[in-house]
């Protein structure tokens, strides 16, 4: 079983977001980068399944510039077997999906896994786009993932519930809430081994760019919080009704 796991390289979840160049570019100063949290959980679950069934290789792929390599090495340290970096600035979702579809075609994979969404671009679209480009079935927002007797056993989140899904390999799964709970932390041995694991760099293929970001904005600064005395909750009800007009 060959699995291709797509990982994004994103600002740590606690980052304070700032922009530069007249708010047209993200300010990378002092930003720590991490593996996208959804992909980190997906990797954890894939490793659990691999340990249970054996005979699985997990290749991580990232579309990014050289600066993403520490993030890729971290995935290798957690336990991925090898890695591919597509040399390009990942500006547009379709562009990223196209690169990953190309990597898939070169590698005879049985399964592609992506996170639910990136925490910087918040697209939640790359996984489905890959599936569409490769004419593969997809399972979106997968909330349970297992492989037993060579068959995929999945559940997916739907609006207002969940669904058990049967799907034949190969397919694309995007990981959702419940895929795994706690991310696996790399140990010393993993970190040592990661240095020697293969990380191939491949050139990007052409894809027309259809979307671009012109301008960023920060949310308006909120006014100070109005405090209401705990003994006077009627005052809160009054404010919500008369001032905020939400009751």
């Amino acid at each position: 079983m060959k699995v291709l796991l797509c990982i994004s390289h994103v600002p740590d979840t606690t980052s304070k977001i700032r922009f530069t160049d007249n708010d047209t570019a993200f300010d990378k100063t002092d930003i720590q980068y991490i593996i996208g949290p959804h992909e980190e959980l997906a990797l954890t679950r894939l490793l659990e399944v691999k340990e249970a069934i054996g005979g699985m290789t997990i290749t991580v792929v990232n579309v990014g510039l050289k600066e993403t390599e520490p993030t890729i090495r971290k995935a290798l340290a957690v336990g991925a077997d090898d890695a591919i970096r597509v040399e390009a600035d990942p500006t547009d979702a379709l562009f990223v999906a196209k690169q990953i579809a190309e990597v898939y075609k070169q590698g005879n994979y049985d399964l592609v896994v992506t996170g639910k969404e990136t925490i910087d671009y918040n697209g939640a679209q790359v996984g489905e786009m890959i599936a569409e480009l490769l004419d593969l079935p997809s399972v979106t927002s997968t909330s349970h993932f297992d492989i037993k007797d060579g068959k995929a056993q999945l559940e997916r989140e739907i609006d207002g519930g969940k669904e058990v899904i049967e799907v034949d390999f190969p397919f694309v799964a995007t990981s959702g809430k419940g895929f795994a709970l706690e991310p696996r932390i790399p140990n010393m041995r993993g970190i040592m081994q990661a240095r020697r694991k293969p990380l191939a760099v491949v050139q990007a293929v052409n894809q027309e760019i259809k979307t671009k970001t012109n301008q960023f904005y920060l949310p308006e600064v909120k006014g100070a919080c109005t405090f209401v005395d705990a003994e006077n909750v009627e005052e809160l009800v009054r404010l919500l009704h008369e001032e905020a007009k939400v009751l």
Binding site: M129, I165, K210, F216, V237
Partner: protein, 323 residues
């Protein structure tokens, strides 16, 4: 040329978000000087279909096909793309919910269009097409320019108001061809919390965190949601500890919500939690700790013990509602 919206139905019924979606698409159709067409898949009765005309749709196309009995992103997006092509749609607009997002992404690839997911307001310009969405998990916004002939959008829920624009609506059937290879991921069984208001649709959310100590204490939270006609949600540790169902988890790694009123009880206000809720119009925090970060984001706050404040607040709200 036309603007096509995919108006999902739930067992033959539309929701508030359907009408938000139509209202939004109708404004785009007006700006682009063209008609608004709705598309729905499966059995919906005529009365329900006619309701789409109240928000600007001049035609609704109903696709009935046995192969579309189960929701499968590949087959549904194939159906939608076929209709979009037949109607010469230049805009195809979806609700930004779990199914809408998946369909929009696939449809944009099929139609060779560009896709901006999770738009939150009308485009600031049509030529070039520029529209705003959230970025950095709600910590910022970005203006996206879309440079393709066919434009695919998904609209964030609760971000656009419903605007009535009554039209005489034509109801027609549309036929599509579904290949067996489009049916690869087969749903086997469904578990649905029937009748429960979805947290992404609710106008009022009462949310509670680890400050509530244990699942047995949620009665007063549910009571408040009921009084306010809203529903409940929670912070991530509460879902991880299985005090509450996972669907209720909001935040950066959970659901992103934008209600009119968000009441946070015993939630510290970590940046990852706020990322999922900071588009709420009004936020109230109730917390024992006056230093809790939630008070920096909240509009109104009560420093106090939830176990004392919430029951009193429920009584006051009940009195208010009783008039």
């Amino acid at each position: 040329m036309s603007v096509l919206t995919y108006t999902e139905n739930w067992d033959g019924k539309f929701k508030k978000s359907t009408y938000e979606l139509l209202s939004y698409a109708n404004e785009i159709a007006k700006k682009a000087g063209t008609e608004l067409i709705a598309l729905t898949i499966g059995e919906v009765d005529n009365e329900e279909l006619k309701s789409l005309g109240n928000y600007g749709a001049s035609k609704v196309l109903v696709v009935k096909n046995e192969k579309l009995n189960d929701f499968i992103a590949k087959s549904y997006s194939s159906a939608i793309s076929q209709v979009a092509q037949a109607q010469d749609a230049k805009f195809v607009i979806f609700a930004n919910n779990v199914s809408g997002r998946a369909l929009a992404a696939r449809t944009s690839v099929k139609l060779d269009g560009g896709f901006v997911p999770g738009v939150m307001q009308l485009p600031s310009s049509i030529e070039p097409f520029v529209v705003r969405k959230k970025a950095y998990s709600g910590k910022a916004f970005a203006d996206f320019e879309l440079n393709s002939d066919i434009k695919v959008l998904s609209l964030n829920q609760n971000s656009f108001k419903i605007i009535e624009d009554a039209k005489e609506i034509a109801i027609e059937e549309a036929s599509v061809e579904i290949k067996d290879t489009d049916l690869g991921a087969k749903p086997q069984s469904v578990e649905k919390a029937s009748g429960k208001l979805l947290i992404t649709e609710a106008e009022t959310l009462v949310s509670a965190g680890r400050g509530l100590k244990g699942p047995e204490n949620w009665g007063m939270v549910e009571e408040m949601a009921e009084i306010l006609g809203g529903t409940t949600c929670c912070s991530r540790p509460v879902a991880d500890l299985e005090w509450r169902p996972h669907e209720e988890h909001v935040g950066q790694t959970g659901k992103v919500v934008a209600p009119n009123l968000y009441i946070a009880i015993g939630i510290s206000g970590a940046i990852q939690h706020l990322a999922g809720v900071n588009s709420s119009k009004v936020m109230v925090a109730i917390n024992t700790d006056e230093e809790a970060p939630f008070f920096e984001a909240a509009d109104y706050g009560i420093i106090g013990d939830a176990f004392k404040v919430v029951p009193k607040l429920n009584e006051a709200l009940k009195k208010f509602k009783a008039g």
